[in-house]
């Protein structure tokens, strides 16, 4: 049988971002997949030398639109640890509230796109309608829908008052109520199961050996979540990672949907325990030394390395994003599947290419 090479992406109806895969096919079966990255490289790491460490917060937020708050959170933690700043407890809780809201809207966006990828358009629209409620909360509390710019070195910029917190609790109840029937549709509908169960299986050993991160890893049975490191206010919150054992697209889907409910609970708990106090501490001097820090993004483990030499500008900022870690597992999933399943599998790792290429 002669082999054919089919380019998948960078422009493809199913992809939100330009991922390019060269697929070698035998008949309709994928034999090999070769990725090509570099369509949206912007050189944001190099920009660190031209911006001072306070301005850099707004640069790292632009690495990824959909999880901007968590990028800034990770970078701020690095600089705060280098300078020995003690962030107020209220700021830590507010950061958790905003980052969990970001996780909810990122997962709902992905679930919608995933539903669209296997042709379930009404589910896609229903999920995005719920997502709009989360966006409204973010806009009312932080001032913008996606890039909310609330984190600064030493704390947060904005406060959430009591009335707004009550409003948020009511909204979260409504979101949960609207999501319950969609969850049962996603889990029990046979059209969803036909397209996802047993497709793109990643075994437990493979997932670990290939260094996957986030829901891909947890969908294969590893209970590993960076929130277990107890950064920010997670030390006071009840948290257990969501784990599924099948390792297929359906399991990854289930992990993400269950994480939405988990994040709603975390926000509720953080609002209940929210302490009074200052929002930020004053920053004096420049950071010096080098540090690494890890946080959990919606897509997995986000890793920052920052080196400063006592000047205004950081000397080096290195960002390792979860999608970068999840591309080798994707290439391991693809051989042996049908061409029609490739969009579903490619989307099941939640590819964020602008993160990967920075």
């Amino acid at each position: 049988m002669a082999r054919t090479i089919i380019p998948f992406g960078p422009q493809h109806p199913v992809l939100p971002e330009p991922l390019h895969l060269k697929l070698t096919l035998e008949d309709e079966t994928v034999v090999e997949a070769i990725p090509a990255l570099g369509y949206i490289h912007r050189g944001l790491e190099g920009l660190a030398r031209g911006r001072d460490f306070n301005q850099m917060v707004y640069v790292v937020e632009r690495v990824c639109g959909i999880c901007s708050c968590i990028h800034a959170l990770c970078y701020c933690n690095c600089i705060e640890k280098l300078m020995g700043l003690d962030v107020p407890r209220r700021a830590k809780y507010l950061r958790v509230i905003w980052s969990e809201l970001h996780r909810i809207h990122s997962h709902l966006l992905w679930l919608g796109l995933f539903a669209d990828a296997f042709g379930f358009e009404s589910l896609f629209m229903a999920l995005w309608r719920v997502r709009e409620r989360v966006m409204n909360i973010l806009e009312a509390t932080a001032g913008n829908r996606v890039i909310i710019s609330v984190n600064i070195i030493g704390g947060v910029r904005r406060d959430i008052n009591g009335a707004m917190l009550q409003h948020m609790l009511l909204d979260l109840d409504a979101i949960e109520k609207e999501l319950k029937p969609l969850y049962s549709t996603m889990m029990n509908d046979y059209t969803v199961q036909k397209r996802t169960v047993g497709v793109g299986v990643l075994s437990k050993e493979q997932a670990y050996a290939l260094g996957s991160a986030g829901p891909v890893l947890r969908g294969s049975g590893w209970a590993q979540d960076m929130r277990q490191l107890k950064y920010e206010a997670f030390e006071d919150l009840d948290f257990e990672p969501v784990v599924e054992h099948e390792g297929d697209c359906f399991a990854r889907n289930k992990v993400r949907f269950r994480e939405v409910f988990q994040s709603i609970d975390l926000v509720r708990e953080a609002i209940r325990k929210l302490p009074d106090g200052d929002l930020a501490v004053k920053v004096k001097g420049n950071p010096e030394g080098e540090i690494t820090f890890r946080v959990e993004q919606p897509r997995g483990e986000l890793f920052y390395y920052v080196r400063c030499n006592g000047e205004k500008n950081p000397e080096r900022v290195r960002i390792r994003t979860p999608t970068f870690a999840n591309i080798p597992p994707l290439l391991a999933m693809l051989p042996g599947v049908q061409l029609a399943d490739v969009p579903v599998i490619a989307l099941s790792i939640d590819p964020c290419i602008s993160c990967t290429e920075r």
Partner: protein, 177 residues
């Protein structure tokens, strides 16, 4: 059969979308929208220049120019946060997109000469006192605080740039980057 419930609930609930031009969205108070300038309050302290993440604000204290490249602005609101006199504030008015690079320029009263350039000590004292008095008055130099909205200013600036006798201190070309 299981679709009946969904169909009925959809028939009985309102649309999730809105008839946009007729029905406008109400933006929350904290929305980071259009800037509002009370430029008479500006003391050319350069705080906004130093803190701007995209470095699009430029100040020339000698001729009294405050300039921002509108397209480069992220609307992060840092300049409004750091402004000591409340010259720059953010409103919750929706900011429509613009289609070509534009500069937002203001003429501010130039800063008085630097301290070391004044010969007499008495003059320094007088200058400082004058400045303090000005701040106490509410930062107003000409007596009335002029507030302008961004789009009005952009069109005014453009009109000035086109008129031949416009007293613009910096004749930078529109669209220069």
């Amino acid at each position: 059969m299981f679709m009946t419930k969904t169909i009925l609930s959809n028939l009985l609930t309102k649309y999730a979308t809105r008839m946009h031009p007729v029905e406008q969205r109400i933006l929350p108070d904290g929305f980071r929208g259009r800037f509002k300038f009370a430029i008479d309050k500006c003391i050319l302290c350069r705080q906004c220049v130093l803190k701007c993440p995209t470095k699009v604000i430029r100040i020339d204290p000698e001729v009294g120019l405050w300039e921002r490249e509108v397209m480069g602005c992220l609307y992060c609101g840092v300049c409004a946060d750091v402004c000591p006199t409340g010259c720059l504030t953010m409103t919750n008015v929706y900011r429509p997109p613009i289609t070509e690079p534009a500069f937002l320029r203001f003429n501010v009263k130039p800063r008085p000469a630097k301290k070391k350039e004044l010969s007499q000590e008495g003059e320094i004292k007088a200058a400082i006192e004058a400045k303090v008095a000005e701040k106490v008055e509410g930062g107003s130099r000409s007596g009335k605080v002029e507030t302008m909205e961004e789009d009005a200013v952009i069109s005014a600036a453009e009109a000035k740039a086109e008129s031949p006798e416009g007293k613009k201190p910096e004749p930078a070309k529109k669209g220069k980057r």
